[in-house]
């Protein structure tokens, strides 16, 4: 893996500590996770301790230290979505993909995450898959969406290297 892009990302954010989280987001968008080498580079360029960077990378739920799947499924379990039947959809998806939230399927096809509010409450329950919002979900619809995405040959989260 080539880590030159990391340097460019840090330059774009002017090496500012206040941009650490934004830098990590950009690195993750590019590499589909936060590689150890990338974090070491960030630590040295921003003159911070690797320990602190590692702490930040593991504290915030947005970041993953292990590569995510090609397609990402995020289910909203905010209060409004919960009250409209979110948990039933959660059960269906975990059964369908055979993984728990926060995990990736063995074939690296799907990453499944649960989030606590996407801010689209009026059309809940909401599922966010590969950059698109799906509203008014139920277990049957969710299954269809996932199957449709699975058939899609194109990568949902392309690793741009």
């Amino acid at each position: 893996m080539d880590f030159e892009k990391v340097g460019k990302i840090i330059d774009k954010h002017q090496q500012k500590r206040t941009a650490l989280i934004s830098i990590l987001h950009d690195i993750q968008d590019h590499y589909n996770h936060l590689p150890e080498e990338a974090l070491k580079k960030v630590a040295s360029r921003l003159k911070m301790d690797l320990n602190d960077i590692y702490g930040v990378a593991t504290f915030y739920k947005a970041f993953s230290l292990i590569p995510k799947g090609r397609h990402s499924i995020t289910l909203c379990l905010g209060t409004a979505c919960h009250v409209r039947g979110g948990p039933k959809i959660l059960r269906e998806v975990t059964k369908l993909l055979n993984i728990e939230p926060g995990q990736t399927t063995k074939d690296k096809k799907f990453s499944f995450n649960v989030v606590n509010c996407l801010g689209v409450c009026a059309i809940g329950p909401v599922m966010f898959a590969d950059g698109k919002f799906y509203g008014e979900m139920n277990p049957v619809k969710a299954k269809r969406v996932i199957e449709k995405i699975g058939k899609n040959r194109k990568k949902g989260n392309e690793v741009k290297s």
Binding site: E36, D49, L50, N51, D52, I53, Y54, G55, T58, F59
Partner: protein, 224 residues
Amino acid sequence: MERKTVNVTIDGRSLDVEEGSTILLAAREFGIHIPTLCYLEHLSPYGGCRICVVEISNNGGGRTYIDTSCTHEVREGMVIQTGSPRIIRARKMLAELLVASAPNVKVAQDIAARMGLVKVRFPFEDNRCILCGLCIRMCYEQMDGKALGFVGRGMGRKVSMPFEVRPDTCRLCRGCDYVCPGVIVPCQGIKDPGELCGRCVRIEDMPTCCPMGTFGCFCEKNPL
């Protein structure tokens, strides 16, 4: 040089304490005992265990609030209670939560016993680390190792080294072992007549690694 003092009332006693001092240290100066767990002199106060909480009223008026005495600075006119019913109840529950999480850590049993706890109403776990953060503060503030840190958050929080590998900045100074409350070895019972156990204070008898054990001891992976 004259030290500036402020007047506070602790447990009904009017005291002139050093300005800028924390309630905990001010109380200690006057022999008033407040139990602590994650506080160690010469390391910065953390305020994580909440055992040292006290009930405070800023000016003796009706409204009181609760805060940790290790972090709260004294101010002129403060009225502090270290053992009000609300505080005793809180400490007892905190001790119950602590010992339910880490019953095999001596210090947790100590605090629970001192609070008068006899029965624990939560299912026991067996954590050996109480997440007091003393090892981290020791590593950063006294030993300049910067090798230990908190990882994750919430119930999944633990102490670890970056990527679970001992970094070059760790000089194996064992400062982390030294301050860890979980490393205190339990009493060994009665010895030969006249002999005291003293395991908990004899440094040479300290175990060879910290109780972390979640991913394997640092020292085991990197023996001296």
